[in-house]
Subunit: 118 residues, 2 copies
């Protein structure tokens, strides 16, 4: 299964999902799939890059080890960020009342699938 198919699988497997992307730690989008045309995953990815670096700093300060996942729930979106390699992470955007557990599971599975291609 290639990278694009892995992303499509996640979006297809979760009705309340709006978009998914693979982002580099430089904030540049590698690949995306979305259902909502107006969702700007490039801007989101660049912003999340900064968030992941802040979280790494928090984790460092308490000896928590490397960050694996950050789930942010806001009023209008839920964003699941998952680190795939040292250089890349994936982000999945779902409806705030969507099935968060399934989203996390599908993203973890997709992360394992795309890791070898990155």
């Amino acid at each position: 299964m290639n990278m694009t198919d892995s992303l499509r699988d996640v979006i297809g497997g979760l009705e309340e999902s709006w978009g998914i992307a693979i982002i580099g730690m430089d904030g540049i989008l590698v690949e995306e799939q979305k259902k909502q045309g107006e969702l700007d995953l490039q801007t989101l990815g660049a912003e999340l890059c900064g968030l992941l670096k802040s979280a790494d700093s928090v984790a460092g300060s308490i000896g928590a080890g490397g960050i694996i996942e950050i789930v942010t729930t806001a009023e209008n979106y839920c964003v699941i960020l998952r680190r795939v390699t040292d250089e890349y992470f994936m982000v999945l955007v779902i409806h705030p009342d969507g099935n968060l557990g399934k989203g996390r599971y599908l993203l973890r599975r997709a992360g394992s699938q795309v890791r070898s291609e990155l």
Copy 2:
């Protein structure tokens, strides 16, 4: 039920929990309860303050509305941050393999309990 009892309830209700605190948006700890003596919730709280502000900036950039919750899973800790009012948030630290769903539920409930006292 007072603030201290609400925090004790969460820690008592989740075996894999290590500590809980109420933190101001200025990074200052208001109240804490912990099982692990070496867990430095004051430092963690101050760092999380910065993370919450970064997440607010991310949410602002995509029109996501206010941040409600951030769940960060690292190798050695899982940290659940929940906004209680504009001025305060709560943080719960649990084992990375702990029951995340129950932690989120207990923290949400405690947030409702302490809100009137803040």
